[in-house]
Structures are given as structure tokens and as C-alpha cells.
Amino acid sequence: MNITLRVNGAARAIDTEPRVTLLDALRDNLGLTGTHAGCEHGVCGACTVLIDGEPARACLMFAVQADGYEITTIEGMAPAPGELSVIQDAFCETHAMQCGYCTPGMVLTARALLQRNPSPGRDEIVSAISGNICRCTGYGQIIEAIALAARRLARSNTPGVTP
């Protein structure tokens, strides 16, 4: 099937089988390998992307179902090549990862949270990331990173800064 996906602000036409997941289409058809396969049954959250700004499992959605939505992948987070967003920088500041495999999903989940709730408490951060499994960190430094990003965004003098 010929479909058009809007990914990170650009329209991308692909020819895909109806059974292909959004995860596989992003990785194999569009070369966006920052979205990772973890469990492929909707539990671990490694494949998290934003669909119209909300976190979704790219492994549980067919690519054809995503036609017409605004998709954001981790490749759409950095403001420019080599330049980190506030959330990405906060993840580096607190070392909110080790192997980096769950990290893209965590960063996107954090972005959705902070757009919805600019000053989340610890419990709200925990709830937001509870659908993303990390086996390396025990979550402590991820929670710190999201809280740090929230503080930095709140203090930012530039309205409209991307989280």
C-alpha cells in the first residue's frame, strides 16, 4: 500500500504491506533507527514515538494506521545536528541512561509529560515513565533528569523553547 507518513514535520511517502508495524516502517522504510524494538508486544516502551504529541507504542500500531497523524521520533528532538534539546541535555547532565537503548522512548515520554505538565512532582514523573522499562538505571537518574529539565524550562527566558 502507498501511504504518506508525516514524520518530524516532513511528509514521507512509502509503499508498505498492511501488516508492517509503524516501528518497522520507521526503521526499515525511513531509516529512522533511533526508535528501538524491545519486546514487540507493547510492554517495554522502547519503541515509543509521539503521535500528535502523545506517547504511543510503535510496535502495536500498523504503519497504515499512522497515516494522517503527526509522528515525532527521537530524530525529531534535537534542534540541530549536534545540538541537544533541554530534555536531552538534562539526560546527559544526570547520566539518565547506561546502554541507551530505552533512552529515545524515555526522552519522548518526558517531552510529552513536560508539554502537558511543566512542573511535575516525583510521583507524576514516575507515573509518566512507568510504561517505559529501563534495565540499567533503576530509574533514579531518569527521574532526576526530567525534574531538572522541568526546572530549566521554567527558568528559560525564551518562550516557546522546545522541551
Partner: protein, 801 residues
């Protein structure tokens, strides 16, 4: 103990350089790597725990467009050698695919290579295999009995290892002690279950006769093992180390996957890739951890001093041998934990069963053993009515007793266990915890405090290999680094392994920067492939801070000595009279800048000391500190360095729900000098989370017919952010006298003590009900049922007149 030395970059609050690409989604994982013409593998797996393979019919699969090959075990076994066994078990053959018979549910029987993964999976479902079911054995104690169905008939029994060590006068110490107690605890089969499954891409180049491997690997001697199995010379295998590994914590050993893809690539003349899906990973990836029954007796005094211990550890290795039985060997290096136990009898038994094969898991058997030792100390405390913390303090080795020789032959390097415990108790407010626990109990809740003290042996020498297998004469487990300065003055260090989140590039850059007195941020770290590389043993056994850190430091020092010698020659002075600082060298009012030294090294042979090689590079291959000796009389120095951790947990259980809440969690951690605080913190917190999973949630469960009941993340439960409490870390630093900065290992920390501490906390909470759990994991369902049952009985008694 001397205070930690002051460093410029070591221990400083510096970012972890690896993180930048990961937050951008720019990691280079194996599933991100593609080659032209690459084929994809999918597998047909055994539905039986044990069965004879009567016939494999791949014709329907081959008829599917896009399918290139269907491979069975007979063809593969004729073309490759069996994978390596750790023990001398010559009749326990293991190949990538089942040969003749299957030995566990999920074992790979046939492989398909196709143009896409989807086609390969479609085709795998079309492979028709005729099986004749055979008797099977799942339970380790049944496997041990004569007459149990042998998993490997030619081996003759299911016993892979049965070795008893007696260190010291165990019988005498038991006879002399006022008290003794015995118990059984069981460590359920769990694993590290990385979020990235294992994957490998193998490309055979028939014109250059080279096998290129990209893999999600953490395996010592990986290239050697592939070459041997493929009957290739060692230099025909090129392992690429610039692949990011999406978590491993021990398990990503993928020899069977690699040999399979390598064979198919050679056969088909195409690059071949296998990425496990989650089902393959869980049931067939051969990546389960220890599965162990402990029978323990301890002899102790009326004051709670433990004099002697007898431990029998029966481990269920699963269907094949591999390195799994060695996981009974490593704990010998810390078999008395942090305690002054005078004598030990240790019987290590490993049996084959019809479960998936076991692989190395974080701590290599130490976490289960620590759980058994800590259960013993808790039971001694309970038997005497003593506080469990005080009981541990009474038994600890004292700071002035290091280096301390334990009965099994390891000399602990350093430690101050009492100081760490004092810090933790003061930080936590232990007395208040006891008040809180008791007031919660008075309010009708179940509440308990768990304690665990344990060691993290680090810097592994693999001495368990010769200890358990006399034909193995391994006495080194080296690691290497090369440091160079290019003609423009930039510094590059090399590391010779893949990394799975340990931050090795940050480690090496920090250490080289410290040695050369230049900003680590300006140092690049390269990962040559295995053909351009130096000897190394991959990041296992909490060794890289010690071994890569040590090798990088020594290589950088050699380079610094060369720069100093160049300067001395040009100053016409003794090298010892040269002052080196921040990259420049000076003497008597004259200075050669970094640029000057680089220019001389690369361009001015006439300014070099006579006989010095031009160019600026140095390398170092490091031997394990304190290593080098074969075992004698069942004793050996196992690991050089010993980090210490002390866990304190407050657990609250609502008796109506049965779900344990870890309300407070404090860990005292002493891994000597910390090289990067962020990395050590992450390892510790991550290890605790992993340990909480092992204590309360994670288990690969098999039913009696050998079917695996926890093949997905819906059944094998991983801790989410909801299950992991905020953990408070209390640091202490007792430098190791054996390492360049006083550093010790920390890669396994947290996991080594958390299961014991959490289990202790739950059992303390259950104490008023008169019940306890002696098997991990203590799952919510079992906990809720046990509490309801105990309360029901109590109510029944009350209601009776």
C-alpha cells in the same frame, strides 16, 4: 586507612561522553547495521522438553518466494565444531541447532534464511518437524537421582559437576560451637533480560577468507570461540567493537547465534543477520541465570559469632553446559562474605535438565550465594533474639585485619565494614525505623526491616576455571590499551571490546587525562576491530575500572615518560629533573610546549634521544593484580579487589492487598576510589532495581511437562518506575592498595545484596504471622495468598472457644 588521594579528573563530576549520541537516538546497535544483500534468519523451535527429531521437512518453507535456505542440525553439525564447554564434559555437545534430539522447549531445530525477516518468519512456520517425545526432567533434585532421564545420554548422568571443598576444620568448629542451625533457601531462575535482544550480523568474504562479525556481544574470547567452532584460523574472524550493546549485564554471549549466521553466510555467500525477537530471547536465547537450591548449616556461639558454615549448592544448568557451572565457582572467592567465618565446607553441584541453557548473569553466581549467606546471618540473629545489624557487626572482619585471608584462599584487599554500617545507620536513623516499623505493626500493617551486607569481588582473574576444571590452566585475564598522540597533537586511546552501557570510553579518557594532565574531553577513544586490536577479556567480573583503567593509565604513563625523555634530551638534563605539567615540559627556565614535543616526536628525528622510536604511541597489557597462580589444595586467589555494600530496607505490606511497598531504601557503598560518580551511581541504582526484580518479580517458570510459562513480559515481570523506590546512597571510600587510583569494581553492585535485603525485609514483615518465604522471587500472588492463609488460620483459632 589512608585518605583518598586528590585527583584532577578522577572522581570529578564530569559528564559521561557516551550519552550524547544515545539521547539523540544515534546509537549504533546491531539492528541498525545493514549490508547489501543481507539475509534474515528466523527459527523453528521445539515444542517439546525432550524429543527425538524424526524428520525435518523444509520443502514448503523453501517454496515460499524470498526464502533462500532451510538449515537443520545434522548439516550444521557436520560442518562446524561444537561450542566450548567450561568443564571437561566431552560428551555434552552443543550446537546452534538441535542435532538428532531436542533437549528443551524452545530449542532451535531449524533455521530459515530469507530476504526479509517477515518472510523468514512466515517460512519458519511452514517447516514441518516430526518429533517422538522422550522422557524429560525439569527439577534439579530429580535430575540428580540415579535413573533420571539423562539429558545427554553419552554423558551417562545429569551431573556436570559435583565437587566438595573443605577449607579449615569444619568438623572441629561445629563440634566446639554452642549452637547450630540448618535451612534451605532457593534462588529462582531469573536473568538480566536486556531491553535489546541479542543480535548478530555475520558476513563471510570468500575472496579474502574473512568472517566479519557485528554483534550485540559481551563475551570473553568471543573471536577465538567463533574461529574454533567455524574451523577457521583466529585471524580469519574480525569482530567489530564499535557496536553499541543495548544492555547485557552478563548474558549476551551469543556463540550459538553467531556460529549459525556465520555458517549460513559462508554457505549462501551473503551477509546473514539474526535479531532475536522477544520470544526467541526468553525461551531460546540460552540467557537464563542461576537456578539454585542451597542447603546451609552454620555453627555459632551464644554471642552470635558464626564459626563455621556448610553449604551445598545445587544448580540447575539447563540443557547444556557452557560456562554456567563456573557460576558455582566464582562465589568461592567470597564464600564467607564480609564475615570472619573460620572454616567452610562447600559442595557445588551442577546438573543438566530439560530447561533452557544457563548463561552468565551479573555477579556470576555471587548474588544467589550472598542471599544464602545473609539468610544464615538473619537466622542466627533470630535464633538468639539479636538485632540483625548487630549480629553482622559482631561477625565483620575489622578494618585493621586487612589484607584478610579467607579460608578458601582469597586475600581481601581492604575494607572498613563497620564504618560503612555506622554511616548508613546514622543517615537512615535506624532507631527511628524500628519505631516506625513497630508503630505500623501496631496499626495493623505488616512492616519489616531487611539488612544485607556483602562483597563485590572485582577485577576477575577467571581462577574459577582451573579450580573447577583441572585441565584448564588459565592464570591471566588481561586487558589492554594503546595511547597515541597524532601529528596534530590530538590524543587517542584504544579499547578492545564492545560496551553495553558501562561508560568505558569515559573511563579510559578520564584515566588517560589524569595521567597526561590534559582535559579528558579532548581525548578520543577508538575501538579497533579484533584484528587490529590488543588482548582483552571483555567487561565481565566487575573488572574494567581496575583492568581497563589500569591498562590505560600505564600506557599513558609510558607515553608521558617518552615526552619527558624527549624534553630531557633537548634540555641536556636527567629525565627526573624535568617538570611535566598540563602537556608541557620544563627545566631550568626552558619549556617545551605540547606542540613542540609533538613536533619533535613526529618530525624531528634529529632531536630525539638516540635509539628512541619516532612517533608518539605506547601500549600496555595489564595482568590482574594479585593474579597469576594456579589453585593449590582447592584454594586460590579468586579476584583482587573487594567492594562492600550494606543495604537497609523498610518494607510495608498492606495485609489486605499483599503487595510489598519498599518505603525506604538506603545503601552504603564502598568501591574504593570512584572514577566517575555518575557511572557508579547508575550501576548501583540499576543493580538494586535488578535485585528487587529478582527478589519480588522475575522468574522463568517451567511447568512439569517442561513448558515455559513466562515467555513474554506479561508473565516475566520487570520492575517499572512504580516498583523501584527512591534509593539513598551513602558513600564511603576505602581505596584498594592493589590498583592505580585505589579503585575497585562496581558493575555488579546493588544486585549482589538487594535480593537478600528485600527478602529479609519481607520475612521480617511476615514474622508476626509466623510465616516466611525461603524461595525467590516472592511474588505478590504468593505473598497475598500466604498472608490470607495465615490470617485465616489465626482468625479460626480466635473464633474457637
Amino acid at each position: 586507612m589512608k585518605p583518598p588521594a586528590k585527583f584532577k579528573y578522577i572522581s570529578a563530576d564530569r559528564r559521561v561522553r557516551e550519552d550524547r549520541s544515545f539521547v539523540a537516538g544515534a546509537g549504533n546497535y546491531v539492528a541498525d547495521i545493514k549490508k547489501d544483500g543481507m539475509l534474515h534468519v528466523a527459527l523453528a523451535a521445539s515444542p517439546h522438553a525432550a524429543a527425538r527429531i524424526v524428520k525435518i521437512d523444509g520443502s514448503k518453507a523453501l517454496a515460499l518466494p524470498g526464502v533462500h535456505y532451510v538449515l537443520g542440525g545434522d548439516e550444521l553439525a557436520a560442518a562446524v565444531d561444537p561450542m566450548m564447554n567450561g568443564l571437561a564434559t566431552p560428551h555434552v555437545h552443543r550446537y546452534s541447532l538441535a542435532v538428532g534430539r531436542t533437549r528443551y522447549m524452545g530449542e532451535w531445530v531449524a533455521a530459515v534464511a530469507a530476504d526479509t525477516r517477515a518472510i523468514a518468519e512466515d517460512a519458519a512456520e511452514l517447516i514441518e518437524v516430526e518429533y517422538e517425545p522422550l522422557p524429560h526432567v525439569i527439577n534439579a533434585e530429580e535430575a540428580l537421582m540415579p535413573g533420571s532421564p539423562p539429558v545427554h545420554e553419552k554423558h551417562g548422568s545429569n551431573v556436570l559437576l559435583d565437587k566438595t571443598f573443605v577449607w579449615g576444620d569444619v568438623a572441629g568448629d561445629f563440634a566446639k560451637s554452642a549452637r547450630e542451625l540448618s535451612f534451605r533457601v532457593v534462588w529462582g531462575r531469573n536473568s538480566t533480560v536486556p531491553i535489546e535482544t541479542f543480535g548478530v550480523l555475520a558476513s563471510w568474504d570468500p575472496w579474502r577468507e574473512t568472517l566479519d562479525i557485528h554483534a550485540s556481544i559481551q563475551m570473553p574470547k568471543y573471536a577465538d570461540q567463533i574461529a574454533r567452532a567455524m574451523r577457521l584460523p583466529g585471524h580469519a574472524v574480525r569482530v567489530h567493537h564499535d557496536v553499541d550493546v543495548g544492555g547485557s549485564y552478563g548474558v549476551k554471549r551469543g556463540i550459538k547465534h553467531t556460529v549459525l549466521c556465520a555458517y549460513l553466510s559462508r554457505k549462501l555467500g551473503r551477509p546473514v543477520r539474526l535479531i532475536e525477537d522477544r520470544l526467541e530471547n526468553m525461551r531460546s536465547g540460552d540467557a537464563h541465570g542461576p537456578d539454585r537450591i542451597f542447603d546451609v548449616s552454620v555453627a555459632f556461639s551464644d554471642e552470635g559469632l558464626v564459626k563455621s558454615m556448610k553449604m551445598r549448592a545445587l544448580d540447575n544448568a539447563g540443557a547444556y553446559a557452557g560456562r554456567a557451572p563456573f557460576q558455582l565457582g566464582k562465589p568461592i572467592g567470597a564464600i564467607v562474605g564480609p564475615y570472619k567465618i573460620n572454616s567452610v565446607e562447600y559442595r557445588a553441584i551442577s546438573v543438566t535438565t530439560n530447561k533452557a541453557a544457563q548463561e552468565a548473569v551479573r555477579g556470576f553466581g555471587q548474588a544467589p550465594t550472598n542471599y544464602a549467606i545473609e539468610a544464615a546471618i538473619d537466622k542466627v540473629a533470630a535464633a538468639l533474639g539479636l538485632d540483625p545489624v548487630e549480629t553482622r557487626r559482631r561477625n565483620f572482619i575489622r578494618a585493621d585485619e586487612f589484607p584478610y585471608l579467607i579460608p578458601s584462599g582469597t586475600r581481601y584487599d581492604s575494607g572498613d565494614y563497620h564504618a560503612v554500617v555506622d554511616k548508613v545507620l546514622a543517615h537512615a536513623g535506624y532507631d527511628k525505623w524500628i519505631v516506625e516499623r513497630d508503630s505500623l505493626r501496631a496499626a495493623g500493617m505488616l512492616a519489616g526491616i531487611g539488612v544485607a551486607a556483602c562483597l563485590e569481588p572485582s577485577g576477575g582473574n577467571s581462577s574459577f576455571e582451573p579450580l573447577l576444571n583441572e585441565s584448564n590452566t588459565t592464570t591471566t585475564w588481561m586487558e589492554s590499551c594503546r595511547v597515541s598522540i597524532d601529528a596534530l597533537g590530538a590524543v587517542t586511546g584504544s579499547i578492545h571490546t564492545t560496551s553495553s552501557g558501562q561508560g568505558h570510553e569515559t573511563l579510559a579518557a578520564t584515566v588517560i587525562g589524569e595521567a597526561l594532565d590534559i582535559d579528558p574531553g579532548k581525548i578520543r577513544i577508538a575501538r579497533p576491530d579484533s584484528l587490529a586490536g590488543m588482548p582483552g577479556n571483555s567487561p565481565v567480573g566487575s573488572r574494567m575500572a581496575i583492568m581497563l583503567g589500569g591498562a590505560a593509565y600505564q600506557a599513558a604513563l609510558k607515553l608521558k615518560a617518552k615526552l619527558t625523555a624527549i624534553a630531557a634530551h633537548n634540555f641536556s638534563c636527567d629525565p627526573a629533573a624535568v617538570t611535566y605539567a598540563a602537556g608541557s615540559a620544563s627545566h631550568g627556565g626552558r619549556t617545551l610546549s605540547w606542540a613542540d614535543l609533538v613536533s619533535i616526536g613526529h618530525r624531528n628525528y634529529h632531536l630525539l634521544p638516540p635509539g628512541m622510536e619516532p612517533g608518539l604511541e605506547a601500549s600496555h597489557v595489564m595482568q590482574v593484580p594479585s593474579g597469576g597462580e594456579l589453585p593449590k589444595d582447592g584454594r586460590v586467589q579468586m579476584y583482587p579487589c573487594h567492594s562492600f555494600e550494606f543495604h537497609l530496607v523498610l518494607c510495608v505490606i498492606d495485609p489486605e492487598i499483599g503487595k510489598p511497598e519498599l518505603r525506604r531504601y538506603v545503601i552504603g557503598h564502598d568501591c574504593g576510589t570512584i572514577i566517575n560518580p555518575h557511572i557508579v551511581k547508575g550501576m548501583t541504582l540499576g543493580g538494586i532495581a535488578h535485585g528487587i526484580g529478582a527478589a519480588l518479580m522475575e522468574e522463568f517458570v517451567y511447568d512439569e511437562s517442561g513448558q515455559m510459562m513466562s515467555q513474554t513480559f506479561m508473565d516475566y515481570l520487570l520492575p517499572s518506575a512504580h516498583e523501584i523506590p527512591h534509593v539513598e546512597i551513602v558513600h564511603h571510600c576505602t581505596p584498594s592498595p592493589l590498583t592505580v587510583f585505589g579503585q575497585k569494581g562496581s558493575g555488579e553492585s546493588g544486585y549482589l545484596g538487594a535480593p537478600a535485603a528485600v527478602s529479609g525485609a519481607v520475612n521480617d514483615a511476615l514474622r508476626p504471622l509466623g510465616i516466611s518465604f525461603s524461595k525467590l522471587p516472592i511474588r505478590v500472588s504468593a505473598l497475598g495468598d500466604a498472608i490470607a492463609d495465615a490470617r485465616g488460620k489465626a482468625n479460626l483459632k480466635e473464633s474457637r472457644p
